[in-house]
């Protein structure tokens, strides 16, 4: 039985000089065979393992991570959580995820610090306004909380935004999802790892999958840097490296991998109490509980597997940030980093079976995977366990690129004549 976390156990362990805390997860050697192998020990992979064990009773599961768990995009994102997507299929999936977020700390017995401070998406031209209002209408009918704020409403919700009409792209309004916000990214990986481990899942770090064993069109095992592992079900959840791994199974995925950068400022006292995103001026900014301003923007244009990007992207995003928040000009950038995001042509994810029986893929989350972590793991576990897509996952299957049933979330191209 795993030791519970609570104020009481913290107090008790404090009194015993913290010597009795258990490992949050074991560090086992791989067994020769598992019922399910998850490739990729990020948030989505760990969540998948957790829900396989918790919801489907499948506990003979290994999560194989080539580096350290949570070291990919889970630990490299800007931690924004929201569900205000335009299309029904996306809204249903992300709202499912947000509902799981809202109970996640209690469910995992791990404080993931969900901070529902509200997410504003700014509109800067008439096309933006039209699309934003369209999204608000759709969100409401889909049961996703959404409001339209005019310029005065934006200023009231976030007083430090420059809403002057004289700037290059004035703020004409914003959508607001009050239930949106941020969460502590590392804690999500650790919380799922601890929860999965407690249910018997083996989390194996520094174990890279080098190939798949396929017989008669069905998966029978994986080759790893720590030996061969037999299994009849494999879930690949490797973000920027999904297409590389799938290629080893003979599958060409409709994915492109790009660097995506993010940065934080030095910690300052609370000054920015919500999440602000702008597609037109192109930056998103929040302030962490530690006091750092956390911000990001768009991908680097070229394809890459290196977890770093170009500095001019950051210069451009900083100009955008200061346009919206002129009082930030004298603050300083403390850390920058990059992750590798895998992007589908329709900017929606893959939660899918594949032409290889027993091989499942979860990826293509592009720049927005963190918010989906609980929902993604939940529906992917179902898909693997039942060998058929969870109803919320079904629209995100690989065959949409054959049928044309795309879920294009690029956001409407805000272009007018």
């Amino acid at each position: 039985m795993k030791q519970r976390f609570s104020a009481f156990t913290l107090l008790r362990n404090g009194l015993s000089w913290h010597e009795n805390w258990q490992r949050q997860w074991r560090s086992p050697d791989p067994k020769p065979a598992y019922d399910v192998v998850i490739v990729g020990g990020g948030g989505h992979g760990l969540a998948t393992a957790y829900y396989l064990a918790k919801e489907h009773g499948i506990t003979n599961v290994a999560v194989l991570e080539k580096g350290w768990l949570g070291g990919g995009n889970t630990g490299r994102n800007t931690t924004i959580v929201r569900s205000n997507y335009l299309w029904d299929e996306s809204a249903a999936l992300y709202e499912h995820s947000l509902k799981l977020w809202e109970g996640l700390s209690a469910d995992l017995n791990y404080n993931v610090m969900l901070s529902q401070r509200g997410v504003m998406n700014l509109a800067h031209n008439l096309g933006d306004v039209r699309e934003a209002q369209r999204r608000v209408h759709a969100n409401r009918l889909n049961g996703v909380d959404a409001e339209w704020l005019d310029t005065a409403g934006v200023k009231e919700f976030c007083p430090i935004i420059n809403t002057s009409p004289d700037v290059r792209y004035p703020v004409l309004g914003a959508t607001l999802q009050r239930r949106g916000g941020t969460a502590r990214h590392d804690a999500v990986a650790w919380g799922y790892a601890r929860g999965a481990d407690a249910r018997g899942v083996d989390i194996i770090q520094n174990c890279e999958v080098t190939g798949f064993d396929i017989e008669g069109g069905a998966i029978v095992g994986v080759q790893t840097t720590r030996g061969a592992i037999r299994t009849s079900k494999v879930g690949v959840v490797a973000a920027g490296h999904n297409s590389v791994l799938a290629a080893k199974a003979g599958i060409r995925l409709p994915l492109q991998s790009h660097p995506l950068q993010a940065l934080v400022s030095e910690p300052i006292k609370p000054v920015h109490d919500c999440v602000v995103m702008s597609n037109t001026v192109h930056v998103y900014v929040s302030q962490s509980d530690k006091g750092e301003l956390v911000m990001g923007a768009g991908i680097d244009g070229y394809n890459s597997y290196a977890q770093r990007g170009s500095f001019h992207i950051i210069e451009h995003q900083m100009a955008a940030c200061l346009e919206l928040f002129p009082i930030f000009s004298r603050l300083r950038m403390l850390r920058t980093w990059g992750g590798i995001v895998d992007v589908c042509p329709d900017a929606s994810p893959l939660l899918t079976k594949t032409p290889v029986a027993g091989l499942f893929i979860n990826g293509g989350w592009g720049t927005g995977g963190f918010k989906a972590t609980p929902g993604s793991g939940h529906v992917f576990a179902h898909t693997i366990a039942r060998d058929e897509p969870h109803p919320l996952a079904a629209p995100f299957s690989l065959d949409r690129f054959t049928t044309g049933a795309l879920i294009d979330e690029h956001g409407a191209a805000a272009v007018a004549h």
Binding site: F5, S6, L10, G14, L15, W17, H18, Q24, W25, S27, W68, D88, A92, E102, G103, S105, A106, N111, M113, Q116, R130, Q133, R134, V136, H137, L141, N142, G143, Y169, D186, W190, E266, I268, K269, P270, G291, R308, I314, E315, A319, C321, L322, E323, I327, F328, S329, R330, L331, R332, M333, R335, T336, W337, P345, T403, G404, L406, A413, A416, H417
Partner: protein, 1004 residues
């Protein structure tokens, strides 16, 4: 309150200018200092050692270092619009009237209520917040998290916009030398003498690095004199540029490095109006020499954070360079030889030394020399505890063998404790360049491995210590870099003569045992600023966080504003020891840019306000402004939105403009439309592949409307393309899509069809387009172009003519976006305004009315013409728009294959229809979603949405366009638009053409 000036100065010496006294204020108290001081040295010279409070426990903290690695002495500089948080006092140059306050202390530094956290510190261990505050959620939302947020953070953001300006430079050079210490100066000299273009960048106010506080001599000269000579020589070399106060913070691919030069900060706020405050340098260097020095590691022992505990090298620097009497009685605690330099400095300044505590049982010749000078050296001993609160008052010294303390020892009183745990080469930039570091077991530090770029490390940053060796390595690196860049023969200049210093190896002492088990009495700080202790690292390892990256994230070790310069290696070594592994097996964390924090403003530079994104205006813009137009941003363009007359709102203006076009004559500035010249042998074939309809058979002088799709069959852009000659087309695109379309064309030409001979050139800026529209348009054109046959037979719809219009050579296209008789008059841009004025003058008798985009949108919607980005959103096919007529069945084109996919060919796709609200005065909101039945609980199935919606003066009612599932099959049905506030609007589905279905107006 004013304190006496410089009460803790040495009698003389140092590089401060004692003839230039300065006064400054810290936490409301006025002090004195000298030009050449840093804020830290000036405070120390006033006996102020308590300068900050730590992040979590609010422990009193003093100045630990003399440079960029300072974790403790953070200040809020200045007030008002120019205030700046979290500056390191060790790097702030003193100027007259400087005002600084400590951060993270309330109500004051000496009486900080946050210090109550120390009482609870037993529970506030690493990661405690992950284990509690979970239930009930409402308490986390309302109480715990707001409290944590308030406690966190250091300084404060300004409340006003930044009054200063910033700029950027871009340079190339043959050799970039980073750091002007002994190695960097030597490298710059060796490279500079070859004639190579050399840039030397150094973060300090003065070049020299460690030489500025060195007692050694070079070629018989005191070190600072040698520095002065070197700088003089560099100044005499025309191709050499030396930049002080310039921190190289990032090393990117292909030897691209970024640096920030602080140009006015040392002068005080607002001292140089008009001069940029900081400058961002982008440097592309053929070769790079890194000479970034090394950081001294603190020792990790119980309560190693008291004010008065300082790096030994910093002690030497403050005494020698700044002339500060740091205390009256010092203890030196070291594992290595370098701290004996502090001993020499203290002796020379006449500061009492209680003892040297050297962990090595046999400390070697430097210790012997100290003993000879009368200093007590306790060999094989450690400091096991310290005393004092706001200033250190004493230490407990114990023998220590094999990690076990001797049962008894002695207590020494002191007011200064100089510590040295060895040195960590500053491999940050090397690591950023993608070079891998390796652990050097003899030197007990990470040193650069093989270079990943055209780069060499020299001196202490390369793990080379000892002045003679450092100079030799710098000279060799500089000569070699120049040679590899094509300058000089690579011959290495002679190394200046320096005295040999006998040395003994250092001791690997990563965690000094305390008087009680770890964590039970006193705190062994590893990361001072973030309050991470050795106990926290042990706890993290115990809880299964074995990767160094996990430990860093779980404990926050190395994540403070100093980026772990003093804590990374100690933390790693303690983790390795805990896990029973060797340090290289545990690894090192990746160093990422920036080396030191970089001001947001300098990264934005001048790209703010109007300069954020270029504003594009047409040659006629000034006329629109004078006429009182309101503008709409469309991409980068400013387009007239509508032209209100006095007292008109948008509704009234649009009503007037729209009536004028339908009943008489309107004029629109259409110059913003994208225009692309497409020329070459295969231009027609190319357009056939790009557009859904056929262009290769288009007659010369004819125009055709075209749609282009993405590969997925979804409409991407539209516009009219005219054929000007056999191999010459003139394409127009949407205003916002022009660049995207050109990229798209080039993408296909360059990657898919390189065999086609086609050239695309943007001519958007080269042509002005004036659209005249309305029943009187032909009359107007006849007036303006008497030489042009304008009758319908001579100049039919969808054709173009070249000729003189208002005396100017023009291209006239007979095309229409309003559904009225229209001509688009194109002239070279420099004639745009003249043509507009001629049109306005000639149009006066026809009642010509300028109209904007809002009226244009209304008029085209009355005709059911689409707007890309409004009726389309990347999910709409030509067939969804009811535009089957434009999709060729014969030829192939981009996206065609996708149109037959099962979902794309589905009958119940969302398709374009018209809507008439039941209430003729009710204008549906654009973006409103449409449902089959009113009411229902979410998720409510949606049929589609309103894409465009207006009140039309021509129809005398409201109307809308919409995309609705199976729309054309639902004509006549009623749909509902549920709006915010619970209201629902009812509308009937109709054909999406509301006016002149046969097109007689535009075609006639």
């Amino acid at each position: 309150m004013t304190k006496p000036m410089g009460s803790h100065r040495t009698a003389n010496g140092g590089r401060i200018d004692r003839s230039r006294p300065l006064s400054f204020m810290f936490d409301g108290v006025t002090y004195g200092g000298f030009a050449g001081d840093t804020l830290a040295s000036a405070l120390l010279a006033n006996g102020v050692h308590l300068v900050g409070r730590s992040f979590k426990y609010h422990r009193p903290r003093g100045v630990l270092t003399a440079g960029a690695d300072e974790p403790n002495a953070l200040v809020q500089l200045e007030r008002g619009a120019r205030t700046e948080p979290n500056l390191r006092a060790t790097q702030v140059e003193l100027y007259q009237g400087l005002v600084a306050t400590s951060v993270n202390a309330w109500p004051s530094l000496t009486h900080d209520l946050g210090a109550v956290n120390q009482l609870l510190s037993r529970f506030f261990v690493a990661g405690f917040y992950y284990k509690t505050f979970m239930r009930p959620k409402v308490l986390w939302d309302r109480v715990y998290e707001p409290f944590l947020r308030r406690m966190a953070g250091l300084g404060r953001a300004p409340e006003l916009p930044d009054p200063d300006i910033y700029d950027k430079m871009h340079v190339h050079c043959d050799v970039l030398v980073v750091g002007a210490g002994p190695a960097g100066l030597a490298a710059a000299l060796a490279a500079g003498r070859t004639g190579a273009r050399v840039i030397l960048m150094d973060e300090q106010a003065e070049a020299g690095g460690s030489l500025l506080s060195s007692a050694e001599s070079l070629d018989g000269k005191p070190a600072p004199d040698w520095v002065a000579d070197a700088l003089a020589e560099l100044a005499s070399l025309p191709a050499v540029r030396v930049l002080q106060r310039t921190s190289v913070f990032g090393y990117y691919d292909q030897n691209f490095l970024c640096a920030v030069e602080r140009r006015t900060d040392h002068l005080g706020p607002g001292a140089r109006p008009g001069l940029s405050r900081q400058r961002l340098w982008h440097v592309r260097a053929a070769r790079v020499v890194l000479a970034t020095g090394a950081h001294e590691r603190p020792l990790v022992f119980a309560d190693n954070d008291r004010p008065g505990v300082m790096q030994a090298s910093a002690v030497a620097t403050y005494v020698r360079r700044f002339g500060v009497r740091l205390g009256s009685r010092a203890v030196i605690f070291t594992t290595n030889d370098s701290a004996y330099d502090a001993v020499d400095a203290l002796l020379a300044a006449g500061i009492g030394i209680a003892a040297v505590v050297d962990s090595r049982p046999d400390p070697g010749p430097r210790a012997e020399a100290a003993r000879a000078a009368g200093v007590v050296v306790h060999a094989g001993c450690v400091v096991a505890a310290t005393h004092g609160t706001r200033r250190i008052t004493g230490v407990e010294v114990r023998g220590c063998e094999g990690g076990v303390l001797a049962p008894a020892g002695l207590r020494l009183s002191c007011d200064l404790l100089a510590i040295s745990g060895g040195w960590s080469p500053a491999v940050h930039l090397f690591s950023q360049s993608q070079g891998r570091v390796r652990w050097d077991e003899a030197k007990l530090c990470f040193v650069p491995g093989e270079a990943a770029q055209a780069q060499t490390s020299a001196g202490a940053c390369n793990g080379t210590f000892g002045l003679g060796a450092v100079l030799a390595e710098g000279l060799a690196a500089g000569a070699s870099a120049a040679h590899l860049a094509g300058f000089g023969d690579g011959a290495v200049p002679a190394t200046p003569a320096v005295a040999e210093v006998a040395a003994a190896p250092g001791d690997a002492l990563w965690l000094v045992p305390g008087l009680k088990p770890l964590g039970r009495a006193g705190k062994h700080f590893v990361d001072f600023q973030n309050d991470v202790t050795a106990f926290d690292i042990r706890l993290a390892a115990r809880e299964g966080f074995e990767s160094v990256e996990h430990v860093k994230r779980y404990t926050t070790n190395g994540m403070a504003t100093d980026q772990g310069k003093t804590s990374n290696v100690n933390g790693l070594a303690i983790l390795a020891d805990t896990l029973g592994r060797a340090i290289p097996e545990v690894g090192t964390t990746t160093f990422r840019a920036p080396y030191t924090p970089v001001t947001f403003g300098v990264m934005a530079g001048r790209d703010l306000g109007e300069m954020l994104d270029p504003v594009r205006t047409t040659p006629i813009h000034a006329w629109h402004v004078a006429r009182g137009a309101l503008f709409e941003d469309v991409g980068q363009w400013k387009r007239p939105w509508y032209f209100p007359l006095a007292g008109e709102d948008m509704h009234a203006a649009v009503r007037r403009e729209a009536k004028a076009v339908r009943d008489g004559l309107g004029v629109l500035d259409a110059s913003t439309l994208g225009k692309i010249e497409i020329r070459g042998r295969d231009a027609g074939v190319f357009l056939d592949r790009i557009y859904t309809n056929l262009f290769s058979k288009l007659g010369i002088g004819r125009c055709r409307y075209g749609l282009m799709c993405k590969e997925d069959g979804m409409v991407f852009d539209d516009g009219v393309t005219a054929r000007l000659g056999p191999d010459h087309y003139y394409m127009t695109t949407t205003t916002g899509g022009a660049a995207r379309v050109l990229d798209w064309l080039e993408d296909y030409l360059q990657t898919e069809w390189p065999d086609l001979e086609v050239y695309c050139t943007s001519v958007t800026e080269q042509w002005s387009t004036i659209a005249v529209s309305g029943p009187r348009a032909r009359d107007l054109l006849a007036d303006l172009a008497p030489g042009m046959a304008v009758d319908p037979e001579s100049f039919p719809f969808l054709s173009m003519r070249e000729g003189m219009v208002a005396g100017l050579a023009a291209r006239v296209f007979r095309i229409s976006f309003t559904g009225e008789l229209s001509y688009e008059i194109n002239v070279p841009s420099h004639l745009g305004l003249a043509m507009w004025q001629a049109v306005m003058a000639a149009g006066a008798r026809h009642g010509i009315t300028p109209y904007g985009t809002e009226t244009m949108h209304l008029l085209r919607a009355e005709k059911g013409f689409i707007i890309i980005g409004q009726e389309t959103d990347g999910t709409v096919t030509p067939l969804d728009l009811g535009m089957d007529w434009i999709v060729s069945k014969q030829k192939d084109f981009v996206g065609k294959r996708s149109l037959t996919r099962s979902d794309t060919a589905r009958a119940d796709r969302k398709r374009l229809v018209g809507l008439l609200p039941e209430d003729e005065g009710e204008v549906l909101p654009e973006g409103a979603q449409l449902v089959e039945m009113a009411g229902g609980t979410p998720p409510v199935p949606m049929l589609g949405h309103v894409t465009s919606s207006y009140w039309s003066p021509n129809l005398g009612r409201s109307f809308a366009l919409a995309l609705i599932k199976g729309g054309p099959e639902r004509l006549g049905q009623i749909v509902f638009a549920p709006l915010a506030g619970g209201r629902t609007v009812k509308a009937r589905i109709v054909e999406p053409v509301f006016l002149d279905r046969e097109g007689s107006r535009q075609n006639g």
